[in-house]
Symmetry: C2
Subunit: 240 residues, 2 copies
């Protein structure tokens, strides 16, 4: 049963990658899977429900990238930045996923999914939060972070929002260009450094020293994400 659900989702994902979210049709999907429409609807209460399920499933892939960052033997500040980089790389590698995730987390779509499905989605996102929180905890223990006002989750909420927000801005084609903001993901890295500096997360990064920032990025790419093309790295020189 769970197997068939996965089967449906596999094919739905393939269809979305070919034809976009808007063109996914329940009847086509059922036909492609050689099941009837009714059977499809036994698994998903609605199309939106299926989309949320799909987005939920992809969290796993994202997590595996994040985990490299969390498990890295490096100062906590580097590790948290590596998470941001993982986020960026994944967004560039699977733009369809981000498009879907964004569409799904829209109030309009989110609320159209079943309550159970939403709960499952929230549960699935927990490991991502846990992972980031664990880095914060390490940072507190090692003395890299001294803040006492915010708990582990709250501390990262700004960084989280910033990443999410930049993805949103990027996906509205033309918006950033219209506002003279090219290379959004390079900027995201710089702004993330600024935020982490502001939170007093040691070791601080000199924002005026682009070379130092690039070297760190390149190191993370080499040590954690070496299978990604260098062009994916939002460094100062490359036009990402």
């Amino acid at each position: 049963m769970a197997e068939r659900e996965a089967f449906f989702l596999d094919h739905a994902w393939a269809m979305i990658q070919n034809e976009g979210v808007l063109n996914l049709q329940m009847a086509k999907l059922a036909h492609r899977c050689e099941y009837s429409v009714g059977t499809l609807y036994q698994h998903f209460t609605s199309k939106e429900d299926l989309l949320v399920a799909l987005a939920t499933r992809s969290v796993g892939q994202r997590l595996s990238l994040y985990q490299r960052a969390a498990a890295w033997q490096a100062p906590t500040r580097f590790r948290i930045l590596a998470v941001v980089l993982a986020d960026i790389l994944f967004a560039q590698q699977s733009p369809e996923y981000f498009q879907l995730a964004q569409y799904v987390s829209t109030h309009t779509i989110w609320m159209a999914a079943s309550h159970e499905r939403r709960e499952l989605a929230l549960e699935a996102s927990q490991p991502l939060g846990d992972l980031v929180a664990s880095i914060v905890q390490d940072a507190r223990h090692s003395g890299d972070m001294q803040d006492s006002q915010l708990n582990d989750r709250e501390l990262c909420s700004g960084l989280w929002a910033m990443c999410e927000g930049m993805h949103s801005l990027v996906s509205a084609a033309g918006l950033l260009e219209a506002h003279s903001v090219p290379r959004p993901y390079q900027l995201l890295i710089i702004q993330a450094h600024a935020l982490l500096n502001g939170l007093n997360w040691q070791p601080l990064m000199d924002l005026q020293d682009a070379g130092q920032q690039d070297r760190l990025l390149e190191r993370i790419m080499a040590e954690l994400f070496d299978e990604f093309p260098l062009s994916a790295c939002p460094a100062g020189s490359s036009p990402v």
Copy 2:
């Protein structure tokens, strides 16, 4: 002609506020405006096109709040924070608008609108960017800000992304609660302070001193946004 377009948009907005974005029907809208469906389609190439037009129009209301912040006789750092607060207040005052804006800036919807409509939307958003950029310029002149790596727009991109991102996270019901992040807008203020500190935007704010932050917020509320209920202010004590 432009008058009739505005007429359509007025009624569309009213209908969305009553019944939500998903329940807006082109035929109902036309009927309510006492025009035929065909006439409606002379103004908007599709439903998505209309939604983008609607979102575009609402930028004006948002702008008027931002302008108070920009025109305020106060240090630039206070003014930029006032912009963030204006954003939050507007989001709380017009949740329908933000829901719409978010829905519309989804790749899926955005790309379904006509090219011309998208251009208009981008143009309409310029004043918001200009306004923020002008504050940055003042900050550079007065010496509050010394960064030389980023231009005026780029400098604020992180703050912009952070605000957008937090709105996104808030609108996915249950997501923040699931991650132990209550009172998102209070957090947004704190994180904005952290980011501004990191950018070295003077005068720096002591992140550990919640009282000082609250006093600033209350001052902005009193001097700029006194018609808003105090409960709208995301201060430390109130449970927003």
